[in-house]
Symmetry: C2
Amino acid sequence: MQKIPVQDYTIYVGEMFSALNKYLLDHAARALVVLVDENTAEYCLPILQEQIERKDFLVIKIPAGELHKNIHTCQQIWQVMMDKGLNRNAICLNLGGGVIGDMGGFCASTYKRGIDFIQLPTTLLSQVDASIGGKLGIDFNQVKNSVGVFQNPKGVYIYPPFLKTLPKSEIRSGFAEIIKHSLINDLEQWQQIKKIKDIETIDWTDYLVPSLHIKKRIVEEDPFEKGLRKALNFGHTIGHAVESQYLESGHPLLHGEAVAVGMVCEAYISNKVSGLSQHDLEEISQFLIHIYGRYPLQKIDYPSMIQLMRKDKKNVKDEINFTLLSSPGKCLINQTCSLAFIEESLDYYRSIHTMVAK
Amino acid sequence: MQKIPVQDYTIYVGEMFSALNKYLLDHAARALVVLVDENTAEYCLPILQEQIERKDFLVIKIPAGELHKNIHTCQQIWQVMMDKGLNRNAICLNLGGGVIGDMGGFCASTYKRGIDFIQLPTTLLSQVDASIGGKLGIDFNQVKNSVGVFQNPKGVYIYPPFLKTLPKSEIRSGFAEIIKHSLINDLEQWQQIKKIKDIETIDWTDYLVPSLHIKKRIVEEDPFEKGLRKALNFGHTIGHAVESQYLESGHPLLHGEAVAVGMVCEAYISNKVSGLSQHDLEEISQFLIHIYGRYPLQKIDYPSMIQLMRKDKKNVKDEINFTLLSSPGKCLINQTCSLAFIEESLDYYRSIHTMVAK
């Protein structure tokens, strides 16, 4: 097991159940609630039930998926907590992916003005991304994470075998954040990553731990996203808009899949405005398309996506805010560009399949 | 103007508009939103509009009253903030009583994971109580303040002339917290207060500032209500239950009116379990009944009120938690008592009118 101390808590990676058991037994008098969704109830909860020594926990199960990451589901969670008489000493274990971690953390942080919570991320995305940073929240009014708080968990316990329960698309989705961390901050890791041909055979712990260290470094320098931390938004301005735009379509994208689209587009913009070379742009784009394929963005949706970008909480004044690359491993925050470049970047994305096919 | 520094912000009491103007002009580039309810829109907003130099603010108006302090109203507030494109740099001024301060602060603290807010309390209760402590939130599932966060404002600006816009019942309601502060922590102030015969002629600044100092002292020692701060809960275990019980009845009580009921009952329990003398109990009860009259509690409502007490977020394990007096000016936190004493205390309250009449 590896331990990564971050701010005021620790991330445990590997065979973490003995550490988790110690924590829970040290707090044996406090009520315990486990939040799961339909998927983690089926695939992960049985493992948790077998491994943790305390058996006196309440399970709250919610529907799976980003569509349910809303205030309505929060009300259901608060309601059960209240009906079961949970007091402020209770501890909430969030067993699931980003939706469970973000929403469960938000519900815990606001129930009776805040109870303690522990993250047990079960997807690659939540293991690499949501474990650090204290960002909690829900989607509101079609805008992702637009209601929430910053609050750290009491601990994060990452159990890599949970990844075996995931479909390939979920693994790919998490991989996008690992790619992003390397592109914004670690040229060497990018040079390793870009050689990957097939994600089926990877031992993710090898990529997870360095990626967590990159994020840790960034978040500790800027916990409230006043500056440096915006580096983590690379691919996310356009990525979030793409994700929101197609959330209720017949073919929603997973978060990382949308970020992969966003990274291609924002690499294009980086080439136009922040000095990313044509060669690096092509290498990044082709790698991402190789791993993720090309999502059928529709030209007719551009205005609506640009509208979504305008509502992005990272914006300052009325300008759409980007984090762009100057070269692989280096980024610039608080960049802006013309609307024309944004539209061109979407056109570029749509054209790549042809380029790759050549 | 008096300045009371508290934790990381300052409370300004008196002619505070020049200080407020300075702050707002120092942050002139940031969007400004003013949250009001129907009452403060009519009585206080015109004064604010006349006095503040920045005129470029958005007004969000919500219905008045505790009944609207819920997640539904929060959704309306978040929605307007989002529709108007407010970004994370925006500043929210909460112009109103406790509902506006608690709910506006909660909405600000969660909108895009938190924007800055300033409290402009317009009622005596919110001036003395909600200005310090960072407690924000809404009622949920009939339980007061059961969803919320701890977050400090950037500043509190108290303008005593706002009190002239209030009905007498609102003044009385705020006075209850001033009485409470004296009973738990300041014998001398209690000795002054108990001589008051008529609240119509009082200069509230004389009572407000010492009361703020008592609360400041307590909150600074225990910001997250782990211990000492529970002193402030005197009168509130039973008071909250009474307030919730009759919230949707034909005759709801204002918060302070309910706390006055709670203080009589909890003084009775203090006499039974924590050493408050019979003489002091009678003096406290008679003073409170003189100021507040006697609310027609119904015996049939006892079980439901006790059920509400069981859901109180201050409880530890399954026991109903009280702060009780050992003598005027001194209190003990984390007290418990038998259900019989709770019921007796309600009977005692219901019997007092007769005693006073004797």
